[in-house]
Amino acid sequence: MLQIESRSFAREHELFACVQCGKCTAGCPMALKTKLNPRQLIQRLLVAGNGFDLEGREELWDCTTCATCSTRCPKKVNPMEMIIGLRGAFVEKGRVHPNVKTALESTFRQGNPLTMPRDQRGAWASDLSLKPMAEGTEYLYYVGCTPSYDPRVQKVARSLVTILQKAGVDFGIMGNQENCCGSEVRRLGEAGLFEMMSEENTETFKGLGVNKMFTTSPHCFNAYRNDYPKNGMQVQHYTQILAGLVEGRKLEFSGRLEKSITYHDPCYLGKHNGVFDEPRAVLAAIPGAKLIEMDRSRTKSLCCEGGGGRMWLEGTNPGLRLAQLRVKEALETGAEVLATACPFCLQTLDEAVKHLNAEDKLQVMDVAELVAQAL
């Protein structure tokens, strides 16, 4: 038994506004391969009286929080938040997958969900002599957990640093002082821990005099922009910074990149935050680069399955990977490079390319890496 008070839950999430049109489920990438059906779940909650048993609803953990459902909804219902809320009931009872438990514990203790030591967080930049963030520095570069620890994604952070330095952007980093943003914690349903981290981080930023920041990951970007209490701080994704540089002609390309590129919109950048044009503008500015669009792009971009805590969970139908579908779509365009701008996307798509033995045809690259190559 995993009983919740469905009446108050439905009211809190405004589920009564639902008109049962099915747009959420129809757009849901996971509904294709698992039992997840947000529309029906809402109806079940509405008709349950005051008690609803979540027992056996493992499909709740399939949600990638890609936000297709909430953007499509004509009645301003947010099924994604409903699912996150329902996960909370599992977390409260400690009824979660061991991997999730580990990730949550690691975040609490080490400031990252990757079970990496807190005092190694700034190590990636030890050779770069970057300025520590302090009062008066224009931007905080919030690196994020994966770019800090993951060797593949570290390359993205390093590329970005190269670009920004070349363009003369004034920024600082927090090194070991940097703490996880809590985005995944929140989406795994651990609202309490997220609350704590949010308060802690906000305090730290205040202490360092941060007015503007940018992030490597759209997930961190989204957390600071939308999940944290509004505090007047300007939050951007790095592609927005780069687009600003391109527009202001502050970025000089000395090289060329004679490659056809197709761009994959990360959910947290695109659907969540409407950042569609900036990454494309940056890619288009690279001399020699030829942009090809996949059919499913922008608001229709197919989720890579990396969000919503899914980096720690297999889901109920691990046999079929959305990232692989996505790579196939990219291959169909004939592009040589599948570009993206999200550490999670980078990882899942990279793995999918390997799984499909397509390394010789398609290369998965971050926008920052591509730009850095052409400087």
């Binding site: 008109v19 049962q20 049109c21 099915g22 747009k23 959420c24 489920t25 129809a26 757009g27 849901c28 509904a31 294709l32 059906n37 529309r39 029906q40 297709t68 953007t71 499509r72 909804c73 004509p74 009645k75 301003k76 059919d295 499913r296 922008r298 608001t299 229709k300």
Partner: protein, 454 residues
């Protein structure tokens, strides 16, 4: 009304102004004129007729829209008590109920309406013949820079499109004007200037109509991206015998085999600011699904919907009939349209099955909703009308005073007050005419003693 039935010229009668020459404006004008009052019917475009003239058939009787509308247009055009002011706009209104003073701008047609007989030689001769996009055909056909919007136009007089005409945009059009040379009536006149007209009226009826929803505001439905995705308005032109395909429902010459209709595009969608129901789309789709079934033998026709609002007289029966013909209704609002190979896939949940479905389509028709006119705000300012939250003109009371605008003497007719189907529009327009006629009758009474004293 016949030609022998002319008005008693001795009678001094007050006048009404009707703004908008769609079916609402035409009906209101006809009622008032038939009762013996003068009417100025002002229409912005070159012809009266409005949205109804673009439709192929009307639900639920499948009457040909042009066949039932054209006689009304002709009646309005030749009515001795109606002064048609097409290609004209109201620019200023002052005064109050019983005595409004109105300024009307007559835009230059560059064609002398008294000389033009509508023969079409000019359009044939025009350098841009077949190269200018036809708004009337929802952008699906081409015309010349000198044009009549459609063959049944009233008045049947040509107009030079100032946005397209080579002479008007560039200052020269070869050595001689092709259109001018072709005209045997010497009607083309590029020296025409804008004219201002001032009239006094006792009452004003606003019948400015609606704009259809722009579906690119829901980009996931692929309108503008996939040529196979069209709107219901475009479908009307495709289905129309006088349309760009002469009634063949075809795309690039191919007859679609799988047609999907999607309802509530730009209606009942609070997320993009159109929370209201557009009232006509369910039946428009039912009618179009029937036409598709009729004209595309063997085609699979699917309609995706949330609720079927078949509420009017004979509507439910028509909906029953369309289903019985084999049109498949599936409950579910599609979330997106994607391309797979050369086919489109409409992705939806069939809610009644509780399953996600991907329905192949070679024609997708989006049932676009009805919205206020783009310039509703400026019209509202000019007439001191209020707008409701959705942008339509606000009636004085939602139940009891649905044609009164809140400004005494100014009445609302048709879709400018909110979405309506044709019979509801006609009723509303006649109701506005009734209200206006009461005021006109009173005004006339007040006029009589003044003249008796002369």
């Amino acid at each position: 009304m016949t030609a022998f039935d002319l008005l008693d010229t001795q009678r001094q009668v007050p006048a009404a102004l009707v703004i908008g020459g769609g079916i609402a404006g035409i009906q209101a004008a006809l009622d008032i004129a038939d009762a013996g009052f003068q009417v100025y019917l002002v229409e912005r475009s070159p012809s009266i007729g409005g949205r109804m003239s673009q439709l192929d058939k009307t639900f639920p009787t499948l009457d040909c829209s042009a066949c039932i509308l054209t006689p009304k247009m002709v009646d309005a055009g030749r009515h001795p008590n109606i002064q048609l002011l097409t290609y004209s706009e109201v620019t200023q209104v002052s005064g109050e109920a019983g005595r409004f003073h109105v300024q009307i701008k007559k835009k230059p047609r560059y064609v002398d309406v008294d000389k033009c007989s509508g023969c079409g030689l000019c359009a044939e001769a025009c350098r841009l013949s077949g190269r200018v996009t036809s708004d009337f055909n929802a952008g699906m056909a081409k015309r010349a820079a000198i044009y009549v919007p459609f063959p049944q136009a009233v008045p049947l007089v040509y107009t030079v499109d100032p946005e397209a005409c080579v002479f008007l945009t560039r200052g020269v059009c070869g050595k001689t004007f092709k259109c001018k040379d072709a005209c045997t009536a010497d009607a083309v006149n590029f020296d025409q200037k804008e004219e201002m007209l001032e009239v006094d009226v006792a009452t004003i009826i606003t019948a400015t109509g609606f704009d259809v929803f722009d579906p690119t505001r829901r980009p996931e439905l692929g309108y503008g991206q996939y040529p196979q995705v069209i709107t219901t308005l475009e479908f009307e032109r495709l289905a129309s015998a006088s349309g760009p395909t002469a009634g063949r429902i075809s795309l690039n010459g191919n007859l679609p085999k799988k047609v999907v209709f999607i309802q509530c595009v730009g209606s009942r969608d609070a997320n993009i600011g159109v929370p209201y129901c557009s009232r006509v789309c369910c039946m428009a789709v039912a009618k179009q699904a029937h036409l598709a079934h009729d004209r595309l033998p063997g085609a699979e026709i699917t309609v995706f919907y949330i609720d079927i609002r078949a509420f009017g007289k004979g509507f439910e029966e028509f909906y029953d009939r369309v289903r019985a013909e084999g049109v498949l209704y599936r409950r579910g609002n599609p979330s997106e349209i994607i391309r797979r190979g050369d086919r489109l896939l409409v992705r939806a949940e069939d809610i009644l099955l509780g399953e996600n479905v991907e329905v192949e389509a070679d024609l997708v028709v989006l049932a676009v909703g009805i919205g206020p006119r783009q310039d509703a705000e400026s019209v509202a300012q000019m007439l001191h009308l209020t707008q409701d939250v959705d942008g339509f003109f606000q009636e004085d009371h939602p139940k009891m005073r649905i044609v009164e605008s809140g400004v005494p003497g100014i009445y609302l007719a048709g879709c400018c007050q909110g979405p309506k189907d044709i019979p509801d529009t006609v009723s509303h327009a006649k109701a506005a005419a009734s209200a206006a006629m009461i005021l006109l009758a009173r005004t006339e009474k007040e006029m009589v003693p003044a003249h008796a004293a002369d």
